[in-house]
């Protein structure tokens, strides 16, 4: 292993600029003639709009334009779309998909819904004028609860009777019922997966510009996938032709899924910039982020697990109600279906599984993918159920998992719910985690806690996720509207330095470093001579972006393919220059050698020769610049075991995580330091979900947790030092053997934390977030 190649803990190249305040985020970019946008937003969860009077606002100081949905529609701008069609039960071919206007047309459906755009010379003027837009609302009753939305007396959308988006199922219902009939024990668990607000450090923003001379648009936007933004905005919203729209996602300060989606703000600003003839900047205020970023999770589920007398799982039956919010966001429909229920086998051999999911509309912000997207919901439900079954049957929670793990010799393993797992060794992760967590010493630690009037608990989570999203044909077959391949472009410069472009996007993951390590490793170029460029549709090749822990597994594989093409061409050039047959050229670490001789050319010399081709093989094109597109063969399946240990003060419910152990199998690891950082951040978010975070709407659909005064983000002092380890079964299905590491922490940790807390508090269910009050009540009940 070289010091900068695959497996090295190289310091992140991008941190220099971030830590010295030299990042370049969308709001940092200012252009000549720029104006500022303010969106008039609905103060009501559900209301008819009888009229909008913009005249006072239009006459206010500094106002350039006040625009409404009527004008947007008159210009032919299409509604916002959802890119994944979910076919339902009983042959229903398509989900109910209500029209989602980028600016309201006659009705608003959640607090924060977009009603009008005000463009002004300063932000203050725009904000003041926005208050002067008079909207005549006629309030309607609000539908809020996930569990009660179906058959509510109020219907939000005509297109969705009973507030149902879809009624979907997966698995074998008859086989599942049959297995239940013969079960020795059935465990039933009702779980709520709490609604989360993403809270990326950088709020969403855009800067839209139109060039009258060339007829080109440039949109800077906080996006995890600029090409997808461009595609959707041209093909569906029709704001600009694809070849005339340049989308740039510069430095982006965190996304966690919330910046995948194509939101009203960027569509409206891109349309409006041409209309008003001025560049338009919009940056969300934090309170707008709370109201209008797509939220995450929000499930209410019932799970039943059938077991035989030895604790072997026979079947799993699940019903889930998934809150999709007021409209379908860009990928919303897929998250509680194919991203969720296909993971319900977990790491276990459960032979029969059936799950049905009702996706419901409510008068709340749209809900879509958030770090883990569907897989945390599956893991939480399954691992809460398994832990509960172990308690009910008096089997050690580690032991019940051992008895049910898919064994290492069983791969490839076809689950009853679509996925075929490629490889894994779940027992290895469990044993390593038990050792690192000193599970053997737990009983003594518990009695020590009890002697101090405290309670102590231990909780396990054995998770699996489907990453490396995703084989395009499989996605298409399941209703997805896009291909999920990735692209790479490796461009040698004549001086031997390299520019690498890929269609993924770096917003905290360290791509500039990890991808450079892959290229350095494959092509023998020093890492400081490699520049990774992402996020500009005018620079790099078409790519699908970053989410679903896909970047290294799919984008990294595309880079390897392009590097292989470089090596192939380099061999031709070397053979000519070294006067040898191409077959005799051996390549290793940047050097092309004639086998069995000391005749050698370095890749930098090859590059120079390619650009100054005076002595050059006939029929070979000049230049050293290769491109590759890679469509994955399958998903990748990171898995592992996390163990959480908590100490609880029963007099107050104060809960301290005293030990947290994570053992993850990510296959090949490119940069262990970056991966460990991803694990830490993921666990932080998972602990946030488990103990602190929870979006709360009141009965009128007002967001109670609309600021940091009430929405509890995890902070450093809520988290322990993490005890992080790995095991490795490299994926046989991609050239690097990688699996992806971005979401694991957020997927694995919530059930580990809740299993530990419930273990400490007598075993009864505690819903997330396990606030101090809930823990106190559980302790009271247990005493």
């Amino acid at each position: 292993m070289s010091e900068t190649g695959i497996g090295a803990a190289v310091r992140r190249k991008e941190d220099q600029r971030f830590l010295t305040g030299n990042g370049n985020y969308t709001d940092d970019i200012n252009v000549f003639g720029q104006t500022y946008a303010a969106f008039v937003r609905s103060p009501h969860a559900h209301a008819k709009i009888n009229g909008i009077n913009t005249s006072a606002a239009a006459a206010a100081d500094g106002v350039v334009a006040v625009l409404t949905g009527e004008e947007l529609a008159a210009d032919g701008v299409g509604p916002l779309i959802c890119g994944w069609n979910i076919a339902g039960k009983n042959g229903v071919e398509a989900h109910n998909s209500p029209v989602h206007h980028a600016l309201a047309m006659g009705k608003v459906n959640y607090v924060g819904d977009h009603v009008a755009l005000v463009v002004a010379e300063t932000q203050g003027q725009a904000d003041s004028a926005a208050e002067m837009v008079e909207v005549d609302y006629e309030e309607l009753p609000a539908v809020v609860g996930t569990g009660s939305a179906l058959n509510h007396t109020t219907t939000i959308h005509e297109e969705a009777p009973a507030n149902m988006c879809y009624d979907w199922e997966i698995g074998d219902s008859a086989a599942t019922d049959a297995a239940f009939a013969s079960a020795a024990h059935v465990t039933t668990v009702e779980v709520v997966n709490n609604r989360l607000i993403p809270n990326a450090m950088e709020p969403r923003a855009c800067l839209a510009q139109y060039n009258q001379g060339t007829g080109d648009w440039t949109l800077h936007v906080t996006s995890q996938n600029p090409h997808v933004h461009r595609l959707v905005m041209s093909a569906f919203n029709g704001v600009a032709p694809e070849h005339k729209l340049r989308v740039i996602a510069p430095d982006v300060g965190g996304g966690f899924g919330s910046k995948i989606f194509i939101y009203a703000e960027e569509v409206v600003c891109t349309w409006a910039t041409r209309k008003v003839g001025r560049p338009i900047k919009w940056t969300a205020k934090r309170s707008e982020s709370f109201l209008s970023d797509a939220h995450g999770r929000d499930h209410v589920s019932k799970a039943e697990l059938a077991l035989d007398a030895d604790g072997k799982f026979l079947a799993l039956r699940v019903n889930t109600k998934a809150n999709l919010g007021a409209y379908l966001s860009t990928f919303a429909s897929a998250v509680p279906t194919y991203m969720y229920a296909t993971l319900l086998a977990g790491t276990y051999t459960t032979p029969a599984i059936y799950c049905d999911v009702q996706g419901v509309f409510t008068n709340t912000a749209p809900v879509d993918a958030y770090r883990g997207a569907g897989r945390p919901e599956a893991t939480y439900l399954l691992e809460r159920t398994v832990e509960t079954a172990a308690r009910e049957m008096n089997i050690d929670p580690a032991e019940i998992r051992r008895r049910n793990f898919i064994q290492p010799d069983a791969f490839p393993y076809q689950t009853p719910v679509v996925h075929q797992y490629d490889i894994g060794d779940y027992g290895a992760s469990l044993e390593k985690a038990c050792e690192m967590a000193d599970v053997g010493g737990f009983a003594a630690r518990r009695s020590d806690s009890e002697s101090r009037g405290k309670r102590r608990g231990l909780g396990y989570s054995s998770y699996i996720e489907a990453c490396g999203i995703a084989p395009s044909a499989a996605v298409g077959a399941l209703g997805g509207g896009v291909g999920l391949w990735e692209s790479a472009d490796i461009r040698f410069n004549a001086t031997g330095s390299v520019t690498v472009m890929t269609g993924t996007h770096n917003h905290g993951q360290g791509h500039e470093t990890a991808f450079a390590q892959v290229v350095s490793d494959k092509l023998g170029v020093p890492i400081e001579n490699i520049e990774v460029v992402e996020g500009d549709t005018d620079k790099g090749p078409f790519g699908m972006g970053t989410y679903g822990s896909r970047s290294i597994a799919v984008g990294g594989s595309a880079i390897v393919k392009a590097a292989d093409k470089i090596i192939e061409k380099g061999k031709k050039i070397a053979a000519h220059c070294l006067e040898a047959a191409e077959d005799d050229i051996e390549y290793d670490g940047g050097n092309f050698t004639v086998a069995g001789t000391d005749k050698v050319m370095n890749i930098a010399e090859i590059a120079f020769t390619a650009y100054v081709p005076h002595n050059y093989p006939e029929g070979v094109e000049p230049g050293l610049h290769e491109q590759a597109f890679y469509d994955p063969l399958n998903f990748s399946f990171p898995a592992g075991v996390h163990i959480c240990e908590v100490e609880v003060d029963p007099t107050t419910g104060e809960t301290e995580i005293v030990n947290y152990t994570a053992v993850d199998d990510f296959g090949t690891i490119i940069n262990p330091m970056i991966v460990e950082g991803q694990v830490h951040g993921g666990i932080g978010q998972g602990v946030g979900q488990a103990m602190l975070e929870g979006a709360n709407y009141d009965d009128n659909g007002q967001l109670v947790t609309g600021s940091y005064m009430d929405y509890t983000m995890p902070r450093a002092d809520n988290l322990p030092n993490f005890n992080v380890g790995t095991t490795s079964t490299p994926s046989p299905l991609n050239p690097l053997g990688v699996k992806g590491a971005g979401e694991a922490g957020a997927i694995a940790s919530p059930p580990a934390v809740i299993n530990a807390i419930t273990d400490a508090c007598g075993g009864a269910m505690i819903d997330m977030p396990a606030t101090q009050e809930k823990v106190w009540l559980a302790c009271q009940a247990a005493e």
Binding site: S287, T651, T652, G653, T705, D710, Y711, T712, Q772, W776
Partner: protein, 264 residues
């Protein structure tokens, strides 16, 4: 934020006249409450009269067992003051646990008391320590100062100039933090003073208040176990997404016990 006129007077007299001349003026101290509400467009004063330029309102002094803190003294200054740490260590600790570093470097004792947030810390301190609030017009005993939810005895143009705290024999403030804002979900200040044990509770109800039942029990037997027998009424407790009435009442007891134990 809406536009406003800004004044920076050099004396208390100039400050009151600046406010008198304004349409709808407000005094500005650390801005940690006022500016946030203005940014959210929830407050729109026509004028801000900044008290930060008035030398008389700053500083800490100790004399005859009484600590006097100028109104514009920041939380950070109180926390770091050797005088406060020496005379009333529990007060220095309280100041050092308000908000975060940025808030403590800007927020002031005068602003905190004038604002009288139901979950603020200083209101508990003045009640438990039997402090006196001095204004440009008069001296107000702590028990008369706190009136209700965000309500004090202050008149429109009245300026807090300083707050005087008689040092107790011992004292301790225990704060159970609301997890998001980290204001007090419940805070209990227990002090052994010349007039006996004083207990003040913040966060639990609409405003900070004395705890007469706790005081009675502790005057009889100053021990954590004495708190066990006290019934904390739940009917006036705040109820919100962070805590119900029963839980808050329980926290009052637990924090009181912890404070008694910390008093030694």
């Amino acid at each position: 934020m809406y536009g406003f006129d800004y004044h920076r007077p050099g004396s208390v007299a100039d400050a009151t006249s600046a406010l008198g001349g304004a349409d709808d003026g407000k005094y500005l101290a650390g801005g940690q409450t006022l500016l946030a509400t203005m940014k959210q467009r929830l407050a729109a004063p026509s004028d801000l009269v900044d008290l930060g330029g008035i030398a008389d309102l700053k500083g800490i002094s100790v004399s005859g067992g009484t600590v006097t803190i100028g109104a514009t003294t920041t939380h950070a200054e109180v926390a770091a003051s050797a005088d406060v740490q020496g005379a009333i260590p529990s007060l220095a600790a309280l100041a050092g646990d308000i908000g975060d570093r940025q808030v403590r470097n800007a927020g002031t004792i005068g602003g905190s008391l004038a604002n009288n947030d139901p979950a603020a810390d200083y209101p508990a301190a003045i009640l438990a320590l039997g402090a006196t609030v001095t204004t440009n017009k008069r001296e107000i005993a702590a028990d008369d100062f706190i009136k209700g939810l965000f309500e004090t005895a202050l008149e429109e143009d009245e300026i807090i100039t300083s707050v005087s705290f008689p040092a107790p024999t011992s004292g301790a403030y225990m704060k159970f933090k609301q997890p998001a804002s980290r204001f007090a979900l419940v805070g209990v200040y227990v002090a052994k003073t010349a007039d006996g044990v004083r207990v003040a509770v913040t966060g639990a109800t609409s405003h900070a208040h004395r705890g007469p039942r706790l005081e009675a029990a502790l005057n009889e037997n100053f021990s954590a176990s004495a708190v066990d027998g006290v019934e904390i009424p739940v009917d006036h407790m705040n109820v919100d997404i962070h805590a119900g009435a029963e839980y808050r009442a329980n926290l009052v007891k637990v924090m009181a016990k912890r404070a008694v134990e910390a008093c030694g």
